[in-house]
Each structure stands twice: as C-alpha cells, then as structure tokens.
C-alpha cells in the first residue's frame, strides 16, 4: 500500500483502470458527439464521432428552448444563493465556533437537520404564497439558501475551530469590533474553505431540478435544467437537439469543475478524516 517503484503489476492496473474509465466516458461521448449529429444519425445512439459536424444544432436549440432567458435566470439565482449562503455561513460559523458554548452545540445540531430532512413541499408553497413570492425567483432563492445553509455551516464551522484565537484578542485591544474583526481578519483566512463552499453551492443550485419544478411555475422564470426537461417532452425525436441542450446545461459546471477542481475536492473531503 505504500509508495514503491513502478512495477509490472502497476502497469496492468494502469491498463485495467484506463479501460474502466470508459464506463464514465462512453455515455458522455454519446451525448457530446450526438450534439453535433443530424437527427437521423443521433438517434442511432452510438459513441462514434459524427460523419459530418453540425455545430448549428447549438444556435437552433438556443432559440427553440429559450436558453438565453434560462441562462440568465439560472445565473442570477446561483449568484445570489451562493453569495448570501456563503456570507451567512461564514459569519454564523465564526460566532458558533468561537463561542463554543451550549448555544453552539445546540445550533450545530439545529443546522445539521437540513442535511437530513427532505424539504416539506406543500407547506413551503403555502409559506411562499403567504409572502406573495410563490412562482418568483425571490421565493426560490430564499428556499434554496435555507436548504444550502446546513452544508456550508458544517464545513465552515469545523474550519474556524482550527484557526487560533490570538489574533481576535489583539484585534480587541486595537479597538476592533466584531464586524471588522470578521471581515478584515477572519474572512481572508477562510479563503480555501469559502471557495470550496462557493463551488459546491453553485453546482447544487445550478443543477437542481426539484425545487424549480415545485416552486417556479411560469415560463418567464425557467431555469437551465427545466429547459431540458420541457424540451425533451416537446422534441422527443430530435435527439441531436436534446443532446445539444444537455451539453449547454452541463458546460458551465464542467468549466467550473476544471478550474476549481482543487476546491471541490477539498470541500467534498471535509470531514472524511475527522467526522
């Protein structure tokens, strides 16, 4: 299990694993190549590259599925949810970790409920109707923030426990208040874990189908995953266009993944060592 030199056994393992990775790659290739095919060729569902590349599928699906509007909506929703969730979690995580009293213990349990209990749909809708924000982005955003708080609170609070307190006391002597202490000293030190929370919440929000499906019922507020869901119903024989839509929904998250891989991995493995 330890690090030894490259042996024949490892070569075999390398080859076997490369073949196993096809299980992940083949479905992705069917979609990616399919997005550039004609409708007749795409419906053969094979993993071959297209005989002729048809990039015009993308502008066609962009117009037909109203992707411009959906893209703008999804971006707005994701940005607000990410921004608010992260600030709320960092600020509260700071107070919870630093106080470390009975209130903190209670709040750790309280917020962790969100990791376990599924959302109660009907009462949530009633609540949004009561505030007159049902079928609006504001309503969806508030519900999404509350369902993302738990995870962020968990990883941020645990990280803040590891930051030494000496600086806090120095700041107090310098006449620094809690808000300034948090924004000028604590927050900069949280950078890696804040970034991983940003990426994880962004992905969860962008990819979510369940909440928009229940809480947004108007075409003007459509989100990216909803476009595919609706589009597939209407153009179910044009698999090339469906595949193109899938590529466009997945693309921003793949780009985010490629650039922020380090932070996603750090966030996903938080708690794996000391649970």
């Amino acid at each position: 299990m330890s690090r030894v030199k490259y042996t024949g056994g490892k070569l075999v393992l390398d080859v076997v694993m490369a073949i196993l990775s096809l299980i992940v790659l083949v479905p992705l290739l069917v979609v990616f190549f399919g997005a550039f095919k004609t409708s007749g060729e795409a419906i053969r569902f094979n993993m071959m590259p297209p005989q002729e590349w048809h990039p015009e599928n993308f502008p066609i699906v962009f117009a037909k599925a109203k992707l411009g509007l959906a893209f703008w909506n999804s971006t707005q929703i994701s940005l607000v949810v990410v921004g608010v969730t992260t600030i709320l979690c960092a600020l509260s995580g700071f107070i919870i970790a630093r106080r470390n009293d009975r209130l903190s213990t209670f709040l750790n349990t309280f917020f962790s409920l969100g990791l376990i209990i599924p959302m109660a749909v009907v009462p949530t809708i009633l609540l949004l109707q009561f505030f007159n924000i049902m079928n609006t982005k504001t309503g969806l955003i508030l519900v999404m923030i509350s369902s993302n708080i738990s995870w962020g609170m968990f990883i941020l609070t645990n990280f803040i426990y590891t930051i030494p307190r000496e600086m806090d006391e120095a700041a107090l002597i310098d006449g620094c208040g809690p808000i300034r202490l948090f924004f000028t000293i604590i927050l900069p030190m949280l950078k890696p874990v804040v970034l991983s929370n940003v990426v994880i919440v962004a992905m969860g929000t962008w990819n979510d189908l369940q909440m928009p499906l229940y809480l947004l019922n108007s075409s003007k507020n459509i989100t990216m995953p909803l476009t595919v869901y609706n589009f597939k119903g209407r153009y179910f024989s044009d698999w090339n266009l469906i595949f193109a839509d899938l590529v466009l929904v997945a693309l921003p998250m793949i780009v985010l993944y490629v650039f922020c891989q380090k932070y996603i991995v750090a966030g996903a493995s938080a708690g794996a060592v000391k649970g």
Partner: protein, 287 residues
C-alpha cells in the same frame, strides 16, 4: 469578552432564514398531514392519522416503499464498494492517477436532468447499452426502461454511475490521512495486503465510512430526480419511489396525503441517520 467579540445578534440572519424557510414548513407539514386538505375541498378538516392509514392501503405506495428500501440498500452497497475499490487503486501512485481522479469526478458535477436523459438514450432498444451487449454477442437485449423487471435497475445503475466518484474522493482523503509508518511497521511484521486492509485501513477509515454511508442512505431515501428523469416511475408504477409518489399526489391536488408521505419519509430518514451515526461514532478509534 465572549459577548463583546462574538455577539449573538450576528447569528440572527442565518437562524431566521433557516427557521422560516426550512424548519417552519416541516412543522407546518405535521399539521397539514393530519388534515383532509385537497384541491377540491373548500373546507379543511382535521382528520387525525387517516392519511397515514390510507397510505398503507394504497398498493402503489406500498410498492414505492419497497422500491425505495431496495434502491437505498442497493446504491449504498454498490456506491461504497466501488468507491472504496477505486480509492485504494488510486492511492497506489499509478501513472494514470490524475487522469482517473479527474474522469471519475465528472459525473457528480452534472445535473440529474443531464444524467437522466443521457441514460434514457443509453438504455433505448437501439441504445448504446444494447449495442455493447450485441458487440460481445450477449443475447439479453431488452427495452431496459420500459421493461417492468429492469426499470428500477436502470435507475440504480444511473445513480451508482453518478455518485461513486464523490464517495471515492472521500475515501481517498481518508486513506491519505493514514500515516505511512503504519504500513511500513506492519510490513516488517510480515503483514500481507489483506491483513493490512483488515487491521489498519478499514479501522482507520471509520470516519470516511460514517460520512459515505450516511450520505448514501440519506440520498437513497430521498431519491426523486433520478426516477423522474429516467423512468418517471414507470412502467405503471413499477419503478416508483416515495419521492415520486409525493410529487404525483401533489400534482393531483391531494395536499394532505402528499404531505403525510413526506412526513413519514422525514421520520424514517432521521431515525436511520441517527442510528447509523451512533453506530459509527462508537466504532471510531485511533491508534
């Protein structure tokens, strides 16, 4: 000093938003689940546990419970076995390690909608899966999604495909945290690979097991989008799950009944999570 530097009022925004938009609906749900509220009824009446009683007389819902339990056990087992295998292999300093870690983590970043429709294409009669079976001359071709005996299986395959990489990363983090000295010391004592696995790796991976197994169980019980995007619960109700029934009853306007199902699911998820977490916390140890 506690209150000067770390004032409680800074907790208010988070507590407020979480209480109002998450906790309050769950509490309200308990009440709604005890009423006869549906879309056709002008007057809402308290009817006690009737919704819960009726749920179990509904054969589709009983099937949904069975399917959800089967799905949860299946994905928890498969995701964790595959993820642990991948993690052990990918901590062996192979040439392809970076490539493999990158590839196996792509599925978790994709939306269920993307993965669901992708697998719809794969499992068509003339789809990629049957083409691969044909290539190896395997005879058992079928319409995987429309076949009542395989529909739920396709959802399980899709779920395991999507999440194995996520659990793999957590096991890798757990494995890399084990100090190298332990392996070296045990090798000097003549321990084989399997002995090392049994007596060093598995016990020290308990925190990773705890997080991976609870996450899989919670994900399993809450299954919804996987079924919605791939089989829609069909054919008939053969691959339906509790999350799907909640959606269906909601769509038909049975708000009381739909909420009762949701409350039942919440109680089960909380109970199972608490028991499993306790079990692993008791087993946690350090050398």
């Amino acid at each position: 000093m506690q209150d000067r530097l770390y004032p409680k009022y800074l907790l208010i925004p988070a507590i407020l938003i979480f209480s109002v938009f998450f906790i309050l609906p769950v509490i309200g749900g308990v009440y709604i689940s005890l009423t006869n509220w549906d879309i056709t009824r002008p007057v809402i009446r308290f009817i006690g546990l009737t919704n819960y009683q009726l749920m179990f007389e509904d054969t589709d819902f009983v099937l949904a419970i069975k399917n959800t339990l089967f799905f949860t056990v299946a994905i928890t087992t498969l995701r964790n076995i595959f993820a642990l295998f991948l993690a052990i292999v990918l901590t062996q300093s192979l040439r392809t390690t970076t490539y493999l870690r990158t590839v196996f983590y792509i599925p978790p970043v994709l939306s269920y909608v993307v993965v669901g429709i992708m697998f719809t294409a794969i499992f068509q009669m003339n789809g990629t899966f049957n083409q691969i079976l044909g290539f190896f001359n395997l005879p058992d071709k079928t319409e995987w999604i429309a076949n009542p005996n395989t529909a739920l299986l396709t959802v399980i395959i899709m779920d395991v495909w999507k999440w194995t990489g996520f659990h793999m990363i957590i096991y890798i983090a757990g494995l890399t945290a084990i100090p190298q000295d332990y392996y070296e010391a045990s090798r000097i004592d003549g321990a084989s690979f399997w002995k090392q696995l049994r007596h060093i790796v598995l016990p020290l991976l308990i925190p990773a097991f705890k997080i991976n197994i609870t996450q899989s169980l919670i994900g399993g019980f809450r299954v919804f989008e996987q079924v919605l995007t791939l089989t829609g619960g069909g054919p008939g109700h053969r691959s339906t799950v509790v999350g799907m029934m909640i959606y269906e009853y909601f769509g038909r306007g049975f708000y009381g009944r739909s909420t009762a199902m949701s409350m039942l699911l919440s109680v089960v998820v909380v109970a199972v999570t608490v028991v499993v977490r306790r079990y692993f916390t008791r087993k946690e140890m350090t050398y």
